[in-house]
Symmetry: C3
Subunit: 209 residues, 3 copies
C-alpha cells in the first residue's frame, strides 16, 4: 500500500464522517446515515469518472472504498452516542486534508487522459468538492462550500500548483506533495484567520422576475 493510497482512503473516511454528522443533524436513521456518508465520500470521484468515461469507478474496482466509508460512518455514530461532540477543529483539519488529497487525485486522473489544463482544474475541483455539495443538496442546505471561508479557491490553487510542478522536471512525488500542502495550507490559514474572498452581492431589489 502506497502512501498516496493510504491518503486516499483517509480522505474517504473523513468525508464519510462529515456526511454522517450532517445526517445526524437531520435525524436520519442508520441506513440514511450510511447513504449520506457514501455519497459524501464517493460522490465527487464518481462524478469525475462518469464524465471522463473512466470505468470502472473507484468503489466498483476496489471494495475498500465502501468498507472504509461505512466503518467511518458507523464509528461516527458510536463516537457521538457514547462520548459527545467531535471537536469542530479536528474535523475541519481532517476535512482540509481530505480536500487536499481528493483535489490532487482528481487533477492527476484528468491529466492522465490528456485533457486541457482548464478541464483538469475543474476535475480536481469537482473531485474535491462535489461529494460535499451532493451531501448538502440532499440534506436541503445551501452547499457549505459557498458560504465557508476560502474553499473552492484552495482546490483551484492546489490543482494549478500540481499541473505546473508536473510539467517541470521535479523528482517523483514532489508534485503531489507540494500541491497537497498548498491546498492544506490555504484552507487551514483560511480557517485559522477566517479569511474570505470578497463576496459578490446582488440585492433582491435588483431583480424583477
Amino acid at each position: 500500500m502506497t502512501w498516496f493510497y493510504a491518503f486516499d482512503l483517509f480522505g474517504v473516511a473523513v468525508f464519510a464522517i462529515t456526511g454522517a454528522l450532517m445526517a445526524g443533524r437531520k435525524s436520519m436513521d442508520l441506513f440514511g446515515v450510511l447513504v449520506i456518508a457514501l455519497v459524501t465520500a464517493l460522490g465527487g470521484g464518481t462524478l469525475r469518472d462518469a464524465i471522463l468515461d473512466n470505468h470502472p469507478v473507484s468503489w466498483i474496482r476496489n471494495e475498500w472504498y465502501i468498507v472504509v466509508a461505512v466503518l467511518a460512518a458507523l464509528g461516527t455514530i458510536a463516537w457521538v452516542r457514547f462520548t459527545r461532540p467531535i471537536p469542530e477543529l479536528g474535523l475541519l483539519v481532517a476535512d482540509a486534508f481530505g480536500l487536499a488529497v481528493f483535489t490532487v487525485i482528481g487533477t492527476q486522473v484528468a491529466m492522465q487522459q490528456d485533457v486541457p489544463v482548464s478541464a483538469a482544474v475543474i476535475m480536481g475541483l469537482m473531485t474535491g468538492v462535489a461529494g460535499g455539495v451532493m451531501r448538502d443538496i440532499i440534506c436541503n442546505e445551501i452547499p457549505l462550500i459557498f458560504h465557508k471561508e476560502i474553499y473552492a479557491t484552495a482546490c483551484i490553487a492546489g490543482s494549478l500548483v500540481y499541473i505546473v510542478l508536473h510539467a517541470l522536471p521535479t523528482p517523483p512525488g514532489v508534485d503531489v506533495t507540494i500541491s497537497m500542502l498548498a491546498v492544506l495550507g490555504i484552507r487551514l490559514a483560511a480557517i485559522r484567520w477566517h479569511l474570505q474572498l470578497p463576496r459578490f452581492h446582488l440585492l433582491d431589489r435588483d431583480r424583477h422576475d
Copy 2:
C-alpha cells in the same frame, strides 16, 4: 413479454405517478409534471447505467419506458382532476412494489458486470431510491426516503437476499421472486406497523460552525 419486464414497466408507472403527485403539490404545469414524472421513474436506472457504463440506457434502448411514464403521469392528472385523491394506501403499496422490482433489477444488472457484492448492493439501492431522491431534490424537499419508515433498509435487505440466492443452486426465477418479496414484505410491514429504525440525533448545540 416476460413477467419481469411487465413488473419493470409497472415500477416505471408507479414511480411516474408519485412524481406527478409531488409535482401537483408544487402546482407545476403540464410539462413540469411530465419532467418530474420522467425523472422519478427513470432517474435511478439512468444513474446506475451511467456509473456502470451500461449503454444505451433503458429508455434509449426501448421507447416503452418513456411512453409508460408519460401515460401514467397524464392518467394521474386526469384522475385527480375528475375524481379526487388517489388513496394513500394504494399508492404506498404500489410504490413498495416498484421499489421491490427496481432494487432487484439494479442488483441483477450490476452482478452481470461482475462487480463486488458491496457495489451490487449499492446499485440495487440506487436503482430503487435515486429517482425518488431526485424528485424530492428538484421539488426542494428533504428526500422522503430519509424520513419515512424503513425504506433504504428494505432495498439493502432485498439486494442481499438476491445475491445469496443467486449464488445458490436454486431453480430459475426463485432468486428474483424471493428477493422481491423480501423488499415488499419489509416495506409493507414498516408501513402497516410504522416500524422505524432508531434515529441518529445530533443536536444543533453540538455544532459550532
Copy 3:
C-alpha cells in the same frame, strides 16, 4: 467558425451570466460565482453526453467553452459592480436564445446516435434546461423552469420541429434555423404576454403522509 458554433458559445455565455447573477443573489465569493456559472452553462450538455456515452464531453474536447463561461461570469461581476442591474428583459431574451441553441444542439447530438424520437426530445429538453435546474438546486431554490411561463414546452416543441424538418428533404440549415426560431418565438411570446399552461394543483389536504 461556423454560425452554429458561434451560437453555441453565445448560449454558453448567456447561461453563465444567469448563473453568475443567481450566485450574486446568494452572496457567493468569486470562485463560488465561477462554479455556479460553469455548472449552469455546461451542466446540461455534460449530463446529456454522460447519458449518451458521448465522450469526451464538449468542454474537455474544446477549451473555449470554459474560457467563454468564465469570461462571461467575470464580466457579469464587473458590470453589476460598476454600472448597476442588467436589464431583466435583455437577460430574458438572451436566455431564450441560449435555450433555443442548446435545445436544437441536444436534439441533433441525440439523433446522430440514432436514438428513438422520444429519447431525442428528452435529450433536447435536458440540454436546454438541466444546467439551469442544477443552478437552482445548488442555490436551494425550486427550479425556475417549473414556475416561469412556458419554458419546457418551448424546448419540446422546438425539438419536435427539428425532428420533423430533419426527416424532410429540406435545404441544409433550414431544420436548425426553423426549430431554433420555434423555441425562441414560443418563449418570447410567453414572456411578452405572460402565457402559462394550466397548472396541476394538488392541495395539501389531499395528502395524508
